[in-house]
Subunit: 153 residues, 3 copies
């Protein structure tokens, strides 16, 4: 059984401009996930802050900083070149909450699909992803990410 | 073969503020589905009106009112505690149409993913979900929900 | 390994009205995919320009124009009536980029789920979809679509 809890969201429903905010965050994630699946290491890492902390159960320890993030993508690229598999990371059920200091806290579901060359696609993993986003040049950067896997819950 | 039909959507494309409306509805569902998957019975039920009617094929009869909704979530919680499975409800392809009286009618696809503890995730179900939403304190509440399952179509 | 590349997106983050634009495009796709899965051939074809070009690996050659699009949907309907399967097309990770001339270029992931009557749902296909959208009466129409399949990458 999950031990997650869900914070009560700040009510943004009435706030003007929520549409812009929410759309920008959705687009941020669309772009970030596409770059990740393309193994575009540098541009993907640039969607995180220099000092970003990335915690995901598939890694032994949290990744700290862009250098580690880049290395992680390049390792994925090597593995997938060897295996001939294409991964797709997909997020949804996105909740966005503004923090006290202009930062955003997000909570969403994340799916990973994998497709071997010439083979059948399958769902690889179901996760919950929680981010802290900071404003960066009219867009966002992820400062902290915590991913939990349903199979390890 | 499906016997569904799709109403012609009111054209909202040009309407100012559609971005806010659509984002708020997306966030409403993200929150509602997260609460459901967390078995947060009371807060989930509070996203429905007191007199909500919830029709879903997996129940023998429509659930009427929050009490029944709460009981439904608590039953899910017991089952999933026993089975050690985590369910995730995910909606997409969301169409939003304003009704005559400030209500909204929505039609979307709904997926259910299930992950056994330590096991592989799988797609459990593909559904179509149609809601009637009413304004509630700057947010929304579901007054009526009809879910159809593709496997039973 | 994918050979895709991802264009640097025009920065829309700061642009006012991005929320409206993004929501309208999301709703456009929700509607277009629902019509496709309902085999509503004429209304689905009307979401494309008269001279639309639709390239998808499952077809021997690109479909050109609405007549071909309608024929394609009717063929799908016949096949699915025979097989008793319901398909659902689902897009996500939507990136939207305004073109030079009021057109939009979009890049998203597309999934196809299939559910046999009385049977288990499954993920049929993982694709990447790239569209050129043109304004049409306050909404959009697809002028050009290129779909690539991960299993054929």
């Amino acid at each position: 059984m999950t031990t997650e809890t869900l914070e009560r969201s700040v009510d943004l429903a009435g706030q003007t401009g929520f549409g812009d905010l929410y759309a920008r965050v959705q687009r941020f994630y669309a772009h970030q996930m596409q770059l990740f699946d393309l193994h575009d290491a540098d541009r993907w890492a640039a969607t995180f802050t220099e000092d970003a902390v990335f915690s995901v159960p598939t890694l032994d320890a949290p990744v700290r900083g862009r250098e580690g993030l880049v290395a992680n993508v390049l390792r994925n690229r090597r593995r997938q070149e060897e295996s001939g598999e294409q991964h797709r990371h997909w997020i949804g059920m996105l909740d966005v909450r503004p923090g006290p200091d202009g930062t955003l806290r997000t909570r969403c579901y994340a799916l990973v699909y994998v497709t071997p060359r010439g083979g059948g696609s399958r769902l690889l993993r179901v996760c919950v992803m929680e981010d802290e986003l900071v404003p960066a040049g009219g867009d966002w950067q992820t400062r902290r990410r915590v991913v939990t896997r349903d199979d390890l819950a």
